[in-house]
Point group: C2
Chain length 135, copies 2
């Protein structure tokens, strides 16, 4: 996918920090995997490469999803909401999206008995981040 | 669903404005409908009533989804992400989520030829907001 980047960025309302919220959804199962942020540069890179790149607020720099974990997100489609302040990324997630080793970051549910973990790690964080790998 | 509100709010990381991002997803189809914001009061009301209430940043007050349009969201489940700064609301959307009359706010897609509208309004905004109704 190589849409005209300028065309897209024109309708995005970046916030005071220059960021827009980006929701990643597995394109075929509909599972919501995570929410993160993009600046204009991350959005442009994502659109031009077809590989999802966020902006890490904690590290203050581009966050090429999977660059340390190998768990990349291939962009299938990118949607923009009515007021332009949220993006929905339809992706093909390689492995797991969450740094805890779970498929989705939304693994805790508010249930009558309190917070419940509804998914277990599929990979240990050590395996994700502790070793050199070639992904 | 009546989970202990304090238990949930304790793990939510509200931002500097006292808000947390909330993604609404239709519980059975997986369609992502919208993204909005909640403050602690909106979250507590949503959990205690089972009807989704956001916080409107533009109006600076609670936004009981559907209070003017009739297009309410019944809460089916509420998920919290790994770092607590995003919520995923599994909802049963009555009618349409978007103020444009479309089912989802994410009705524009970035395609090679530019931005494309991938969904048409199901209800006219006039019908949603222009008349008194009893929903």
């Amino acid at each position: 996918m190589r849409p005209p980047v300028a065309d897209i960025a024109d309708v995005v309302s970046f916030n005071a920090d220059g960021l827009v919220a980006a929701i990643a959804q597995q394109h075929d199962t509909g599972e919501v995997l995570m929410m993160a942020w993009m600046n204009a540069e991350a959005l442009a890179e994502t659109l031009s490469t077809g590989r999802v790149c966020y902006y890490s607020r904690s590290r203050g720099k581009l966050w090429r999803k999977g660059e340390s974990s190998g768990q990349t997100q291939a962009l299938i489609d990118l949607r923009i909401d009515c007021d332009g302040d949220a993006l929905l990324l339809l992706v093909d997630q390689s492995g797991v999206a969450c740094h805890t080793g779970r498929r989705s970051c939304f693994y805790r549910a508010a249930r009558p008995e309190g917070l419940v973990e509804i998914a277990a790690p599929e990979i240990s964080p050590d395996a994700l981040y502790g070793h050199t790998h070639n992904h």
